[in-house]
Amino acid sequence: MKSRHKRIAIIVAGIALLAIAATLLLQSFQSNLVFFFSPTEVIQGKSPNQGNFRVGGLVVEGSVKRDGTKVAFQITDTANSMNVIFTGILPDLFKEGKGVVAQGTQGADGVFVADQVLAKHDENYMPPEAADALEKAQQYNANKAAGEDK
C-alpha cells in the first residue's frame, strides 16, 4: 500500500512538473512571436508600439544613404513608405528596388530601427512577406481609387 501511495505521489508530481513546463514553454513562445506588417499597416497604426515586429516591401530607389556602417533607407509597398535605419553590414542581395524584410522596433519619431535586415538568397526570389505587402498595397490603392471616384 505504501509503495502504491509513493507511486501516486510521484505520478502527481510528474504531471504537475509537466504542466509547469508546458505553461512556461507557451509563455516563452508567445513572447517570441514576431508579427509582420506592411508599411501601410504601420502608418495605419496596426503595428505594436513596443517590441519587435517585421516590415517588408521594396527598397525605395535612391533612398539608401550610408554613413560608415550606419545605413538609412526607405521601404515601400507602393502605397506608403517608411524610414528605416540599420547599423551593420547589409546582406549581399540588399539592393534598391528589390524586396526586403526588416525586423526591429519603431521609435517615437516613426523611424523604424532595424536590428536585422533579410534579403533573399536568390536574385529572382521575392521574400513572400514583401510580396504579401505589395499585394495588400494594390488592394489599398484600388480601394482608394474607388473611394475617390465617388
Binding site: A21, L24, F29, R66, T69, T87, D92, E123
Partner: protein
C-alpha cells in the same frame, strides 16, 4: 535519347516497386509462401533501375545537356565539374530523384545484409520499403520529372545558386539524405513487426545497427550543414533555428530517443510499444522535413518548388503514411505488449526520462516550426518565431536530460538505489561545479548560461570517467589495455558519443558566452586593434575564378608584433546570375577562430574604404568536433559483434 532512357527506367521502376510491395503483402494475408520469393528480386531490380536513372542524370550534367530543363536551370558550362555534382541535387527534381536513389541504396543493403531474417519477416519488410518507393516514384513522375525536355535548347544553363557552389554542398545532402531515408528501414522494421504481430529481443537486435547507421549519417549531415552555414553564409552563424534546420533536427532528436529506447528493448525486453512508436515518428518527421523543405512553403536556399500540386501530393502522401502507420499501431500495439517491468529508479526509468525529455524537446521545436506555417496557410497573417524562443526553451528542456545522461550509464538495470548512485557521482558533481566556476574566472566573465553550459559539459565528461572507472574495477585481473578492450565496442562507442556531446556543449557555451563581433570602417593602410589583435588592411586585389570575378581584401593579422596570419575575405560576383556573394576568411585554431568578412565599398570617401566585420569565436570548432565524435561513437557501436546476425532457422 539518353535522357528518355532515364525517364523510362523510372516508369518501369514504378511497376516493379508496385509488385515488390503488393506481392509479399498478398502473400502475408493469404499465407502463400510462394509470393514471398518475389520480394528480394523485385527490390533489387527496382533499385537497379532507379540507380540507372540517377546515373543518366549525372551523365547529363557531365556533358552539359541543356536540352533537359532541370540541367539548364541548375548548371552552366563554366560550372566546375565538382560543383556539377552538387548541382545534381541542387534543385527540386534532382533532389527528389536523389532521395529515391538513396532509398534504393538502403533497399539493396537490406536485401543483402538482412538475409538471416526469417523469410516472412524479411519479405514484409521489403514490401513496406517498396510502398515508400512507389509513393516517391509517383511523386517524381507526376509532378517533378527531372528528365523533362526543352523544345528550344538554350545556349547555356542558368548556373547553380552560388551559395551552393561549395565542396560542403557536395557532401551535406548525401549524408543528410542517408540519415533521413535510413529511418525508413527502422520504420519498415516497425511496420513489418506490427503486421507480423511479433516483436521480441531479436527484432530489436536486428533493428539497432540500421537505426544507428541512419542516426550517424544524420548527425554528420547536420554538422556539415551547420559548418557550411558558418563559413559560406559569411556572417558567422552556425545555427539559426531556421525551419529547414529544424526539419533535420527533429528526426535527429527522435532518432536519438529511438536508439536509446531500442537499447532497452534489446537488453531488457521493455519499452516495446514505445520503440515501435518512435520508429514511426522518426520516419514521419523525416517525411515532414522533406515536405517542409521541398514544398515551397519555406523560402530559403532549400526551397525550390513553387508548384502547389507538389505540396499537395506530399501532404496527401504524408497523411497516408503517418495516418496509416499510427492506425496500424493503434490496432496492433496491444499484441506486442509493454514488455518487462522495472523499478522506479533504474537504468530503464532513467532512459525513459531521457526519452520523455527528447520527445518534449522535439515537440517544442515542432511547435515553433509549424505554427507560423499553419497561421500563414489559414490566411491569418505572417509571423515568425524568434530564435530566443528556441534557445531558452530548448536549453531549459535539455538541462535535466543532460543531467540524467550522466546518471543513466552508471545506474543498474531493473533497480538502482540513490545512495549507490550518489556515492559514485558525488566527486563528479563537485569537480563539475568547481570547473564550471574556474573557466569563467579565467575568461573574465560569468553568466548563468555560461555556468549551466559548462556545468553540463563537465558533468557529462566526469560521469564518462566514472563509468569507465566502475567498469575497470569490476574486472579484477589483466592489464589496463586488456581491460578496456574487454568493454566491447558498443560500450566504448556509447561513452565516446556522450563525450562528443560534452565537447559540443563546451563549444556552444564558449561561443555563445564569449564571442565578439565588431563592424569596422577601414581605409587602405589602416591598422585597427581588436581583442588584442592588430588588423592591417592592405587594400583589395582583383581576382578571377572559373565562373566569377572577385575583390579580395588583404588583412595582415598580428599579435604583440608577431604575425599571426593573412586573411583574404572576398566579395564575389557570379557571372551567370549576376549574384554577389560574401566569402569569409577564417583563421582556425582549437581555441579560437578569427573570422573576417567584407561588407561593401563605401562611396564618397577616400578610395579603398570598406566596411568590414570581424568576429572572434572561441572554441567554435568544438561544436563540429563534438558532432564528429558522436558520429564515431555511433559507428563503434555498430561494429559490435553482438549485432552481427546469426543464421536463423527458417
Amino acid at each position: 535519347m539518353i535522357p528518355d532512357i532515364g525517364h523510362y527506367a523510372l516508369m518501369i521502376a514504378l511497376i516493379v516497386a508496385t509488385l515488390q510491395a503488393v506481392l509479399p503483402l498478398a502473400g502475408l494475408s493469404s499465407n502463400n509462401k510462394k509470393l514471398f520469393a518475389f520480394a528480394t528480386p523485385m527490390a533489387r531490380l527496382q533499385s537497379l533501375l532507379i540507380i540507372i536513372a540517377f546515373i543518366i542524370l549525372d551523365y547529363s550534367f557531365y556533358i552539359n545537356d541543356f536540352s533537359i530543363l532541370y540541367v539548364a536551370n541548375t548548371s552552366n558550362s563554366n560550372l566546375p565539374i565538382i560543383f556539377r555534382l552538387a548541382a545534381i541535387w541542387g534543385g527540386h527534381e534532382g533532389s527528389i530523384l536523389f532521395w529515391v536513389t538513396i532509398l534504393a541504396v538502403w533497399t539493396l543493403a537490406v536485401t543483402f545484409f538482412a538475409k538471416e531474417l526469417p523469410l516472412r519477416f524479411r519479405s514484409t519488410l521489403i514490401a513496406v520499403m517498396g510502398l515508400i518507393t512507389v509513393g516517391f516514384l509517383l511523386f517524381i513522375l507526376m509532378t517533378s520529372n527531372p528528365f523533362e525536355r526543352l523544345a528550344f535548347i538554350p545556349i547555356d544553363g542558368r548556373d547553380l545558386n552560388p551559395l551552393l557552389q561549395d565542396p560542403g554542398m557536395v557532401f551535406h545532402p548525401p549524408l543528410l539524405y542517408m540519415g533521413y531515408v535510413g529511418f525508413s528501414v527502422a520504420f519498415a522494421f516497425a511496420i513489418a513487426a506490427l503486421l507480423d504481430g511479433r516483436l521480441d529481443v531479436t527484432w530489436a537486435r536486428w533493428t539497432r545497427p540500421w537505426t544507428t547507421a541512419a542516426w550517424v549519417f544524420l548527425t554528420l549531415g547536420i554538422a556539415l550543414g551547420s559548418r557550411w552555414a558558418y563559413y559560406e553564409l559569411g556572417w558567422g552563424g552556425w545555427w539559426f533555428w531556421d525551419a529547414v534546420e529544424n526539419a533535420s533536427f527533429m528526426p535527429w532528436l527522435i532518432g536519438t530517443a529511438l536508439i536509446h529506447s531500442l537499447a532497452v528493448t534489446e537488453k531488457r525486453d521493455a519499452f516495446k510499444s514505445w520503440t515501435v512508436l518512435l520508429s514511426i515518428c522518426a520516419f514521419s518527421l523525416s517525411l515532414l522535413g522533406t515536405f517542409i523543405v521541398r514544398s515551397g512553403v519555406l523560402t530559403s536556399v532549400h526551397a525550390f518548388a513553387t508548384d502547389p500540386s507538389r505540396g499537395l501530393f506530399i501532404l496527401v502522401f504524408l497523411a497516408l503514411v503517418i495516418g496509416g502507420a499510427l492506425l496500424l499501431f493503434a490496432l496492433r500495439a496491444p499484441t506486442i505488449g509493454l514488455g518487462e517491468k522495472f523499478d522506479l529508479l533504474s537504468r530503464e526509468s532513467l532512459l525513459l526520462s531521457n526519452n520523455v525529455v527528447l520527445f518534449t524537446a522535439t515537440g517544442a521545436v515542432l511547435l515553433g516550426t509549424l505554427y507560423p506555417l499553419v497561421i500563414d496557410a489559414m490566411g491569418l497573417g505572417k509571423i515568425s518565431v524568434g530564435p530566443p524562443y528556441f534557445d531558452v526553451v530548448f536549453v531549459a528542456i535539455m538541462v535535466p536530460g543532460i543531467f540524467l545522461m550522466g546518471v543513466g550509464p552508471i545506474a543498474r538495470w531493473k533497480k538502482a538505489t540513490v545512495p549507490e548512485l550518489a556515492g559514485k557521482l558525488k566527486w563528479a558533481l563537485a569537480i563539475s561545479i568547481v570547473s564550471a566556476l574556474l573557466v569563467p574566472s579565467v575568461m573574465g566573465k560569468l553568466s548563468l548560461m555560461i555556468f549551466v553550459g559548462l556545468l553540463m559539459a563537465f558533468w557529462v565528461m566526469s560521469s564518462v570517467w566514472v563509468s569507465v572507472n566502475t567498469r575497470l574495477q569490476a574486472i579484477p585481473t589483466g592489464t589496463l589495455r586488456e581491460k578496456i578492450s574487454s568493454f566491447g565496442p558498443a560500450f566504448n562507442g556509447m561513452l565516446l558519443a556522450h563525450f562528443g556531446l560534452a565537447v559540443f556543449i563546451v563549444g556552444v557555451t564558449m561561443v555563445k558566452g564569449y564571442e565578439q563581433e565588431s563592424d569596422l570602417v577601414m581605409k587602405k593602410g589602416e591598422t585597427k586593434l581588436i581583442n588584442g589583435y592588430a588588423f592591417r588592411f592592405e587594400g583589395i586585389k582583383p581576382l578571377r575564378g572559373a565562373n566569377y570575378v572577385a575583390k579580395q581584401g588583404q588583412f595582415y593579422v598580428s599579435k604583440d608584433g608577431q604575425p599571426v596570419t593573412l586573411l583574404t575575405p572576398e566579395k564575389r560576383l557570379y557571372l551567370a546570375q549576376r549574384a554577389v556573394m560574401t566569402e569569409a576568411s577564417i583563421s582556425v585554431n582549437p581555441v579560437r577562430d578569427i573570422y573576417v568578412s567584407l561588407g561593401e565599398e563605401l562611396e564618397g570617401e577616400q578610395k579603398d574604404t570598406w566596411s568590414v566585420r570581424v568576429y572572434f569565436k572561441p572554441f567554435v570548432q568544438w561544436i563540429w568536433l563534438g558532432c564528429l565524435l558522436m558520429g564515431f561513437g555511433g559507428i563503434l557501436t555498430m561494429v559490435d559483434k553482438r549485432y552481427r546476425l546469426t543464421k536463423v532457422v527458417k
